[in-house]
């Protein structure tokens, strides 16, 4: 009984249980879900293919965003709803640098790494803008980021003069690698990018005090200040780091299709990123966080999405299914339900004891 309690009270329980549920469901419905094939792609390379690969591939951007969103949530007690719009900006910047003013360039105008770094800087500036509103002007994060949420996609379009640049394979084969495959490597590149991001994050959390500082600020700003921390700076930093995550996600997004559509790129991804944080068992009101749980939450969401696609649930109905998950999570984490479950557990233990004694 105690071990059961230990397991259920662990923060990893929720995402793991959800994952298990999805796996069991798919095993029953169609074990073929877990099959992985080696196929030859159109570039002539052998690559893995299958639902599991799709989940890992498509979940990459979300996992990367979940990292930043977790930090922002922990430090500020709110969420950034502008990440989708800033991805559009970041993607637009990459294309602007690579293409110059020519929407269909013959050759790239700059190395991809330069474009990516500039996009990182731009996204971090927008992150800093959001962070400054939250940290210094004390605006609720959702309200503060509403500004970029509203304006971001227009800014993205403005960066490229409303044109839709396309990077053809003739201009650069390499550009498509970030959202596709590197020749000779059978696993989608976004998976590696996500793994690298996760590893870097874990190293940062281990070798710096980022975790302690953000949690401390998120839980009690006054105390943190009196312990020599600078809460404003730490909140700002969380938003800037999220900006960096956004830039990486933006690169993958534009690389996937080698172009951009300002109004639909990464649409509604902010909701999935927030959901990933919540699914990881992290309080959306800030404070303590568990990064691994958030990242796992991101893949669970992608697992759910892919499962729903498999069963041909239409894309516009997906939010409804996700809403069910949200409702379940919120209700389960409510103190009143927790108390009730706790009492139920005790009663069961008591009756079992009685039964054993008699």
């Amino acid at each position: 009984m105690n071990t059961l309690k230990k397991i259920t009270s662990n923060q990893m329980f929720i995402p793991l249980a959800a994952l298990l549920l999805l796996i069991i469901f798919n095993l029953i419905m169609d074990p073929g879900f877990f099959k992985i094939n080696l196929v030859q792609n159109s570039a002539g390379n052998y690559v893995f293919s299958g639902y599991l690969i799709t989940i890992l591939d498509m979940g990459s951007e979300l996992a990367i965003l979940a990292i930043g969103m977790t930090l922002v949530t922990a430090a500020s007690g709110g969420q950034d709803i502008s990440v989708g719009a800033v991805i559009a900006i970041g993607g637009s910047v990459i294309l602007r640098v690579l293409c110059g003013t020519d929407p269909r360039p013959e050759v790239l105008k700059a190395p991809i790494i330069v474009a990516f770094l500039i996009s990182c800087v731009v996204c971090m500036i927008f992150g800093a803008f959001n962070g400054a509103l939250v940290a210094f002007f004390r605006i609720q994060p959702m309200v503060a980021t509403l500004i970029m949420y509203t304006a971001g996609r227009s800014i993205a379009a403005w960066i490229n003069n409303n044109t839709l640049p396309v990077i053809s394979p003739a201009a650069s084969e390499t550009f498509a690698y970030f959202g596709g495959f590197i020749p000779g490597i059978p696993i989608p590149t976004p998976v590696f990018i996500a793994i690298i991001c996760v590893i870097i994050t874990m190293l940062i959390l281990k070798f710096t005090n980022l975790g302690l500082y953000t949690q401390s600020v998120g839980i009690n700003e006054n105390s943190s200040r009196l312990n020599g921390l600078n809460p404003e700076f730490i909140k700002l930093m969380a938003f800037v780091l999220l900006g960096l995550c956004v830039a990486v996600a933006g690169l993958i997004k534009v690389s996937r299709i080698s172009t951009i559509n300002y109004s639909v790129i990464a649409k509604d991804i902010e909701m999935d990123a927030i959901l990933a944080v919540a699914l990881g068992g992290n309080a959306l009101s800030g404070g303590k966080f568990n990064m691994i749980a958030s990242i796992l939450g991101a893949y669970v969401i992608q697992f759910l999405t892919t499962t729903l696609y498999k069963f041909k649930v239409s894309a516009d109905a997906l939010p409804a299914y996700k809403a069910v998950v949200v409702i379940f999570l919120v209700v389960m984490s409510a103190p009143i339900v927790r108390d009730y479950l706790e009492q139920l557990r005790k009663k069961m233990a008591a009756s079992r004891k009685e039964a054993a004694e008699s």
Partner: protein, 505 residues
């Protein structure tokens, strides 16, 4: 059920993860009595009160109210409906509403409110209780003391049978306390049973009829006030015989070793944006000094200015003769200054973090962003101080918010001691904590001073300051009005200096 009792609680059980907070506690409240509920922090007083008011649901046991069978209380609304009203230590009103709104919020039967009526009624009650505010004033514009009284007024007007006062006096000055006591006696005469939770022994003996003592979640006993002299009460609470509280006084002089040769810290014309007049201040190596004055006289603001907790807008400071610049807490910390803030909950603890993280926080910040302690190092520090200060916690991983107030305070103290400060500022370190811990802290202060640490000690209880400090800076109306030392350190001198009598230096 005894027909004189308004409330009987029998065999109450309550446990939290890892802690059994109440183990078979009985409690009886008679009609028209003031009943003190005593015990150290963590003894189970707050839990018992919260069970009674429906904040917690009891695991087992029975509650009876006069004129009814056994009652089940599942929510604060249940309790309110049954005539059980509570005034908590921390104000639980809405600061952005008016006084009248606060008095009537969540009451009444319907959705309509007659504002005029409400304000008139509220004004009448405020007048009858002599509370210096008006119904229309916004609550946040009132002092903490007045807010507390509004909370009582709210409870009184609810025609309650049982009134619970949980540490209501910790932020009131003497006059206000006297007013409150008058009010309590009036209510007692009307037959209301009052449960009074406090740490002030004097107050217990001034106003209460009977005492129930809890220790470690168990009932120690129920006593008539006349049968239980102070010393006995304290020993019941601590669970050990104790010679006398005043023992420490003798030790004080022995410990205190003021090395006047070195001014560890000195401030000239220091001024912050918290509205205090510029002041001069210094402290010697190994000295214990203190700021005294009425609540709100600017004691805390002075030390906050020293630590850089408020924005410093003028003056100069130096450390051991060398000028330094302190504009924010980290500057002070780097100069070996530590500050234990007045409001433990708001400024001290980081609630959701573990005891360990709370203890290492300040030292960690000093060490730097890129140099986190290893888990082993952190555990070593935490275990060392948990043992040294006798912090009662299930483990170093326990969130600090689940500890009792006194133990939380010890964690914060541990946090600052860990930084090995040269100069330690303690702002009300003993407020709202039990007698045992108070004595521990006072002893610790003197011991640290004897080891060469300079300490500024602030307390609302003057006798505590007289016991520990060798020099007192007296404040009135946000100004330093005097300094007392040596023979001048008497209760009378302090009083007259605060009052502005001719005995002023």
């Amino acid at each position: 059920m005894d027909k004189n009792s308004v409330l009987e609680m029998r065999d109450i059980q309550k446990s939290f993860p890892g802690v059994r907070a109440l183990m078979g506690v009985d409690f009886t409240l008679k009609e028209g009595e003031i009943h003190a509920l005593m015990g150290e922090n963590g003894a189970g007083k707050s839990t018992l009160i919260k069970v009674l008011t429906g904040v917690y649901t009891k695991d087992d046991g029975h509650i009876f109210l006069k004129g009814s069978e056994e009652v089940n209380i599942h929510s604060p609304q249940d309790a309110q409906r049954l005539g059980i009203s509570t005034v908590y230590q921390e104000i639980t009103l809405c600061p952005n509403l008016s006084v009248a709104e606060n008095m009537y919020i969540g009451r009444g039967d319907g959705s309509t409110v007659n504002w005029k009526d409400m304000n008139q009624k509220a004004d009448k009650i405020l007048q009858s209780l002599d509370i210096p505010t008006t119904a229309a004033a916004q609550l946040s514009s009132c002092s903490i003391a007045v807010q507390q009284m509004v909370a009582i007024a709210r409870a009184v007007d609810m025609e309650c049978k049982v009134l619970i006062l949980d540490e209501p006096t910790s932020s009131l000055d003497d006059q206000e306390v006297a007013k409150l006591f008058k009010l309590m006696r009036d209510l007692k005469a009307k037959g209301v049973g009052i449960i009074f939770v406090t740490h002030f022994l004097d107050q217990v003996y001034e106003v209460c009829d009977r005492i129930t003592v809890l220790r470690d979640g168990r009932l120690v006993g129920e006593y008539e006030i006349a049968d239980l002299p102070r010393v006995k009460l304290v020993s019941k609470m601590l669970g050990k015989e104790m010679d006398d509280l005043s023992d420490i006084k003798g030790e004080a002089k022995e410990y205190s070793k003021d090395d006047a040769s070195e001014k560890v810290f000195e401030a000239k014309g220091l001024q912050s944006n918290a509205g205090i007049s510029p002041f001069d201040f210094y402290i010697n190596k190994g000295e214990v000094n203190g700021f005294t004055g009425l609540l709100g006289s600017g004691r805390s603001e002075c030390v906050r200015a020293i630590f850089g907790a408020d924005k410093v807008i003028g003056g100069s400071v130096s450390k051991s003769g060398k000028p330094i610049n302190i504009s924010k807490p980290i500057d002070a910390m780097k100069n070996g200054i530590a500050y234990l803030p007045e409001d433990r909950k708001l400024d001290g603890i980081v609630g959701d973090l573990s005891v360990r993280d709370n203890i290492i926080l300040a030292l960690q910040v000093l060490k730097g962003f890129f140099k986190p302690f290893t888990k082993a190092e952190a555990n070593k520090f935490a275990d060392e101080y948990i043992k040294l200060l006798g912090i009662k916690t299930a483990s170093a991983d326990t969130p600090i918010k689940s500890l009792s107030g006194g133990n939380q305070q010890k964690c914060i103290l541990a946090r600052w001691l860990l930084t090995k400060p040269e100069y330690l500022i303690l702002d009300e370190p003993t407020r709202g904590i039990d007698v045992g811990t108070k004595v521990d802290i006072q002893k610790l202060v003197l011991k640290l001073a004897s080891e060469g640490m300079s300490i500024t000690f602030i307390s609302s209880e003057t006798d505590e300051m007289l016991r520990t400090c060798s020099r007192l800076i007296v404040m009135r109306d946000r100004k330093v009005v005097g300094e007392l030392k040596g023979d001048e350190l008497t209760q009378n001198m302090i009083m007259s200096t605060i009052a502005g009598g001719e005995s002023k230096e």
